[in-house]
C-alpha cells in the first residue's frame, strides 16, 4: 500500500521526480566512469610498469634488494626456471644480471649499469625488442653487441656501429674489460634509466663479469595483475628453503606503489564530491515534496497510519527514484565504460608515469564501477531523506492538516 502511494506520488509530480532521478543518474554515471577510469588507469600504468619492465614478481638472492652486490647471485637458474614455470599464474620468467661499470668512447666516458638479458625471453616477456628506437635488437647468440639507453648514447656521443670500451670489476676480483659494438639505441620510456642502461646478451655479461651461469634476478610476469599475490605465495612455497627472496612489485617498487595508492585516494575524493552534489540535490527535492504533502501526511496519520509507516512512505518514494536512476545509469555507464575500454581515450599530451609513456588511456569495466556508485547513490539518498521523513512522521496530525 505504501509502495502504491509512493509510486503514484512519484508519477503525480513527474517533472520533479525526473529531475531528482536525473540528479542521481548523473551522479551515478560520473561516479561509475570515474571509478572505471581510475581503475583502468591504475591497472594500465601498473601493468605497463611491471609487465613491460620490472616484472610483477622478482626473485633475488637473500638481501639483494636491500643491498645489491655482485656476489648475491642465483646459480641454479635453469632448474629454478622449470619449477617456477609450473606454478599457476606464471606467464614468463626472465633472468637478469646486473653490474656497474665505466663506459668510454673516444674522449667521453660515463658510469653505466650493465644489464645482462636473455634476448629471446626478454623480448617475449617485456618486449625489450620493441623499445629499440634505432639500430637492431640482439641476435640469439652472444656476439659482443650492446644496446644503449638513449640518454647514455647522448652522453657518450655514440651511434649505432661505434665500439665502446667497458671497464668493471669481475666476480673473481680481476678487472673486467671488453669491447662492444653499439647495435641499437633503447628508449625504455624512463629517461633516468636510459642515461645509464647498457644492455648485453646475458652470456656476454656473464663472461665479462666471470659469473658463469649465474644471474641476479629472476623477473616473473604473471597472467593477471590481480592474481599476483597468489602467484607470489605459490612461488614462495615452491622455493621454500632455497634462501631466495620473493617480492611483488608492491615491495620492490615501493615509491611507485605509494604514488599509485595516493592516486587512488584522489578517486575517493572525487567520489565524495559527486555524492555530496547528489545529496544536496536530493535533499532539496525531498524537503520540498515533504513540505508540499504535509497535509496529506496529517490525514494519513489521523486515519491511524503509524508514524513509522509515514516515515517509510517518504523513504520508499526516494528509494524508488534512486533505484530507477541507478538502473538507467548502469546501462549508460556500461556503454560508456565499455566504449572507452575498447577504444581508449587519447591523451592531450603523452605523459610518463613511473618511466612508462602513455598516449592513450583505457577505462576498465568492472563490478566495482557499478556497485560502489550504486550503493553510494542509494545510501546517500536514503541518508538525506531520513530527516524529512522523520519530520513527516513526527508532526502532530492536526498541525499537519492545517498546512495546505
Amino acid at each position: 500500500m505504501m509502495f502504491k502511494i509512493a509510486l503514484r506520488n512519484i508519477f503525480r509530480r513527474k517533472r520533479r521526480s525526473i529531475i531528482t532521478m536525473l540528479t542521481m543518474f548523473v551522479g551515478f554515471v560520473l561516479a561509475a566512469i570515474s571509478i572505471g577510469w581510475s581503475d583502468g588507469t591504475y591497472n594500465n600504468i601498473i601493468d605497463s610498469f611491471t609487465r613491460n619492465r620490472l616484472g610483477h614478481i622478482q626473485i633475488h638472492s637473500q638481501g639483494y634488494l636491500d643491498k645489491p652486490s655482485l656476489y648475491k647471485n642465483i646459480e641454479n637458474y635453469d632448474s629454478l626456471r622449470n619449477v617456477i614455470a609450473d606454478i599457476a599464474g606464471v606467464e614468463f620468467t626472465t633472468p637478469r644480471l646486473f653490474a656497474s661499470g665505466l663506459a668510454s668512447l673516444n674522449d667521453k666516458s660515463a658510469g653505466v649499469r650493465i644489464i645482462g638479458v636473455d634476448p629471446e625471453i626478454e623480448s617475449r616477456a617485456t618486449h625489450l625488442d620493441r623499445k629499440v628506437a634505432e639500430g637492431r635488437y640482439f641476435s640469439a647468440q652472444p656476439s659482443n653487441k650492446a644496446l644503449l639507453g638513449r640518454g647514455l648514447a647522448k652522453i657518450l656521443k655514440a651511434s649505432v656501429g661505434d665500439t665502446i670500451v667497458i671497464i668493471s670489476q669481475a666476480a673473481d676480483g680481476s678487472i673486467a674489460n671488453d669491447l662492444y659494438a653499439v647495435f641499437g639505441i633503447v628508449e625504455s620510456g624512463d629517461k633516468m634509466e636510459d642515461r645509464a642502461s647498457f644492455y648485453l646478451h646475458l652470456e656476454d655479461a656473464q663472461q665479462l663479469l666471470v659469473l658463469q651461469n649465474r644471474i641476479h634476478e629472476i623477473a616473473v610476469i604473471c597472467d593477471n595483475l590481480a592474481d599476483v599475490p597468489q602467484t607470489s605465495a605459490g612461488i614462495e612455497e615452491a622455493l621454500n628453503d632455497s634462501g631466495l627472496d620473493v617480492a611483488t612489485w608492491k615491495e620492490f617498487a615501493k615509491s611507485f606503489y605509494r604514488a599509485m595508492r595516493a592516486d587512488k585516494e584522489g578517486m575517493w575524493i572525487m567520489l565524495v564530491v559527486i555524492l555530496i552534489m547528489v545529496a544536496v540535490g536530493v535533499l532539496n527535492t525531498v524537503l520540498m515534496s515533504v513540505l508540499e504533502r504535509t497535509h496529506e501526511y496529517g490525514v494519513l496519520r489521523a486515519l491511524g497510519t503509524a508514524p513509522g509507516q509515514v516515515f517509510r512512505l517518504v523513504i520508499i518514494e526516494v528509494l524508488i527514484i534512486a533505484v530507477a536512476g541507478v538502473i538507467i545509469g548502469c546501462g549508460l555507464s556500461y556503454l560508456i565504460n565499455d566504449a572507452l575500454s575498447a577504444h581508449g581515450v587519447p591523451l592531450p599530451e603523452t605523459f610518463t608515469y613511473g618511466g612508462v609513456e602513455f598516449k592513450r588511456m583505457y577505462t576498465e569495466v568492472n563490478l566495482r564501477s557499478f556497485y560502489i556508485p550504486a550503493l553510494s547513490v542509494v545510501v546517500s539518498a536514503f541518508l538525506v531523506s531520513i530527516f524529512p521523513a522523520v519530520k513527516a512522521a513526527r508532526i502532530p496530525p492536526a498541525q499537519a492538516m492545517r498546512s495546505v
Binding site: R8, V299, L303, G304, A398
Partner: protein
C-alpha cells in the same frame, strides 16, 4: 476506576489548548470538562472560532492539549506513544473532516479501503464493505475516480464513507454537512443516525447547521473555548 467510568468513550478534564505558533498565543480552549458516553449522538455547536475543531482534535490526539487530561475508553492519551495512538485511531475512531481530506493519489475506492488495509481486513471483506458503503452514499459510479475529479459534496461523502466503513466505535465529524446541499445533508444525517442506533457507534459532530443540530440528542454549546451550555434532549 469504577464501572461507570468504563462507559465513558471520552472523558475530558480541564482541557486547555493554547496555540503558540504565532507571536501572540491564542487560547482556543480554556478549561473544558466533558464526558461522552457510549452510543451518544452529540452535536458541538458554537460560533466560528469558539474552539469546536480544536476540541475534536485534542480529544482524538490529533493535537496535543496544553493542559488537562483526555481519556479515551479509559486510557490516558498523554501516556500513549505515537504508535499506540495511531493504532487506537485506526481501530476505534473514524474521522470526517471539514474539507479537503482525501488522499489525492488514491481513487475513491482506495481511499475508503485504506483504513481497512491498515487494519488487515481480508481482501474479500474489504471489497464487499467498500461496495456497500459507496452504494449507500450514492458513490458507486465514482469508485475509480481520483478525488480531484469529484465535486465538493461528492468528496465529502467519500470522506464519510471512509470514516464509517470500518465501523469504528467513535466517529468524530467536523462540520460533516458544511459542503452538502440540504438534501444530501439530510441523507447523511440519516445514515449517521442509523449507524448510531443499529451499530451503537458514538457520534460527536460539530456544526453550524440548525437542521443538523435538531437531529442531535445532546447539544454542547462552546463559547470562547468554554462550555456554555450542555443539554440533553428528551
Amino acid at each position: 476506576m469504577n464501572k461507570k467510568e468504563n462507559n465513558h468513550v471520552v472523558m475530558a478534564q480541564g482541557i486547555v489548548k493554547e496555540y503558540r505558533e504565532d507571536k501572540v498565543p491564542v487560547k482556543a480552549l480554556r478549561g473544558i470538562d466533558l464526558t461522552i458516553d457510549e452510543g451518544e449522538f452529540t452535536a458541538i455547536v458554537g460560533p466560528s472560532g469558539s474552539g469546536k475543531t480544536t476540541f475534536l482534535n485534542v480529544i482524538s490526539g490529533l493535537d496535543d492539549a496544553t493542559g488537562g487530561s483526555v481519556r479515551l475508553s479509559g486510557k490516558l492519551l498523554s501516556e500513549m506513544s505515537g504508535k499506540e495512538l495511531s493504532d487506537f485511531r485506526r481501530d476505534n475512531i473514524g474521522f470526517i473532516f471539514q474539507s479537503n481530506n482525501l488522499i489525492p493519489v488514491l481513487t475513491v475506492e482506495e481511499n475508503v479501503e485504506y483504513v481497512m488495509l491498515l487494519q488487515g481486513v481480508p481482501k474479500k471483506e474489504r471489497h464487499e464493505r467498500v461496495k456497500k458503503i459507496l452504494a449507500d452514499l450514492g458513490l458507486e459510479d465514482m469508485a475509480d475516480r481520483r478525488p480531484n475529479r469529484l465535486s465538493g459534496g461528492q468528496q465529502q461523502r467519500a470522506g464519510v464513507a471512509r470514516a464509517m466503513v470500518s465501523k469504528p466505535a467513535l466517529v468524530l465529524a467536523d462540520e460533516p454537512t458544511a459542503s452538502l446541499d440540504s438534501e444530501a445533508a439530510e441523507s447523511l444525517m440519516e445514515i449517521m443516525r442509523e449507524l448510531n442506533e443499529k451499530s451503537k457507534i458514538t457520534f460527536i459532530f460539530s456544526t453550524h447547521d440548525q437542521r443538523v443540530m435538531k437531529k442531535a440528542r445532546r447539544l454542547i454549546v462552546l463559547k470562547d473555548g468554554k462550555v456554555d451550555r450542555d443539554e440533553v434532549k428528551g
